[in-house]
Amino acid sequence: MALERLFRRRRAQGEARDIPELWVKCPKCDAQIYKKDLETNLHVCPKCGHHLRLSADKRIEMLADAGTFEQITGLKPADPLGFVDTEPYPKRLERYQKEAGRPDAIVGGRCTIGGVESVLLVMDYAFAGGSMGSVVGEEITRGIELAAQENRAVVIVSVSGGARMQEAALSLMQMAKTTLALDRLWAQKLPYVSILTDPTTGGVTASFAAIADVILAEPGALIGFAGPRVIKQTIRQDLPEGFQRSEFLLKHGMVDQVVDRRQLKETVAMVLKLLHPRTVNHAG
């Protein structure tokens, strides 16, 4: 009797302590997944294959060859418009910087991917929903220019709610700047692979993310120009099942492949090796 009570109490305590720390619930199939298992599985649900969001650091770990990543980003945002809504933009920036642990919504660097010399640029959803302002635009542009100078391939992982409102027209101009930079890369026949992840919308989709040599999307990612809420308000109708998801875009001819995250590195490396001029004459 006493033993049974002790058992019960311990189990109750155990649940309270263990679940939030060691277990994660899959948002798609509700399965309880052991957190370590989720991490070794690159945040893909082992039960249903749902792709959970992956941090920018984990993305780099996953795509760059081990030990080769050398960071080149680090610019800090300014407040060129003195933007104030319900709070001043610098206040928001401070909070985002604390949350994401970096100055803005991007991290990138030199690395090799499957042995191919590359510049890898990864957007960070943890910082203001991956929104693109001057810093994101400038880092993408510099990364592309560096790749053109050093004969490197470019791989960009996009995740973004769109352009950053607090930098208004300057954010808009980043769409033109990044798109123009790609010309420097193309002039030297260096490959660019764009990886679209959940979610990629607005000004990022409508600029550098959409005009790569090869566009890959992760399964089930929301990808589009206008967000679903805006579209719903405009047309006043419910949106069809699967609308603006990766598979929908594949069907409509907008992306080359929908690739499971666990095969992503291999696929990217294969494309780079097939296209990069320096690897043309190598076997395998």
Binding site: M165, A168, A169, L170, F225, H252
Partner: protein, 315 residues
């Protein structure tokens, strides 16, 4: 229908007209009273229009009667031959374009087209293009390059159309492609923001060597209403959003986003379209003249440099 802040002016103008009519028909001398009223009118106008808020400018940019792309083409150019269709899917009436002659020079023109009444607005989808509109624009850019003709783009859109059909046919993809295509032009390219410069849908035809803007037009990454709906959770806060977004012509000039402001006649472009067209023509010709000495490669590099420098950050 007058705009809210135009009402006191219109009322005073009506009163003056009424008094003038009475004076003429009755022979009573009202010149003293009329003089006072006319002075008050002039004062009221300058009080209103010398200190326009950004939100008031947005309203002027949308005012009925403001010159549209076709009005500008018709007013500035001759021999306009409209070209239609994207050769892939369909014709999009939200974007118009074709061949024309400007002061003897043959040019290629394109622009967003608003309707001049409700019926035309429905036909033109309120100047919100589908992907076909941008593909048409790109086809015209190809034409300008092939025949070495200056390319002139008129911007006046609330934004690219946010709908199911547009997404299905790759709205984001064509906007990116159009930005890239325009950047690659080997001929002089001028973009003029006539009214509304709504985000990516505007920028898609906005990659000019020179970007000009009418005094009361706006250009931003998002409309004030949408911005207010997101940041203030209330679209009615659009006036505050317009201020915060710094979307007016003087703001954009100081940020280097536009190169030249085209003045509007007193009371806004819709009050005197003819004078507006004359100002546009003068600015357009001056901008083209600035580019005359540049060769094809230099024009491309000039555009690259122009957009490369835009952005503010700390190292």
């Amino acid at each position: 229908m007058p705009l809210e802040f135009e009402k006191p002016i219109e009322e005073l103008e009506a009163k003056i007209a009424e008094l003038e009519g009475f004076a003429a028909s009755s022979g009573v001398d009202l010149s003293g009273e009329l003089h006072v009223l006319r002075e008050r009118l002039a004062q009221l106008k300058s009080e209103t229009f010398d200190n326009l808020s950004r939100w008031e400018r947005v309203q002027l940019a949308r005012a009925p009667g403001r010159p549209t792309t076709l009005d500008v083409i018709g007013g500035l150019m001759t021999d306009f031959v409209e070209l239609s269709g994207d050769r892939t899917f369909g014709e999009d009436a939200a974007v118009v374009g074709g061949l024309a002659r400007l002061e003897g020079t043959s040019v290629v023109v394109v622009g967003h087209q608003k309707g001049r009444d409700t019926k035309e607005n429905i036909k033109r989808n309120f100047a919100m293009p589908h992907p076909e509109g941008y593909r048409k624009a790109m086809r015209l850019m190809d034409l300008a390059d092939r025949f070495g003709r200056p390319f002139i783009a008129f911007i006046d859109t609330p934004g690219a159309y946010p709908g199911i059909s547009a997404e299905e046919r790759g709205q984001a993809w064509v906007i990116a492609q159009s930005i890239q295509r325009m950047a690659r032009l080997r001929v002089p390219a001028i973009a003029i923001i006539l009214g509304e410069g709504g985000s990516g849908g505007a920028l898609a035809i906005g990659v000019g060597n020179r970007v000009l803007i009418l005094e009361n037009a706006w250009y931003s990454v998002i409309s004030p209403e949408s911005c207010a709906a997101i940041l203030w959770r209330d679209a009615k806060e659009a006036a505050k959003a317009a201020e915060a977004l710094k979307l007016s012509a003087p703001d954009l000039l100081s940020l280097g986003i536009v190169d030249r402001i085209i003045p509007e006649p007193g009371g806004g472009a819709h009050r005197n379209p003819a004078a507006t067209l004359a100002n546009i023509k003068q600015a357009l010709l001056a901008s083209l003249a600035e580019l005359r000495s540049l060769g094809p490669g230099e024009l491309f590099e000039d555009r690259y440099r122009r957009f490369r420098g835009l952005g503010r950050y700390q190292t």
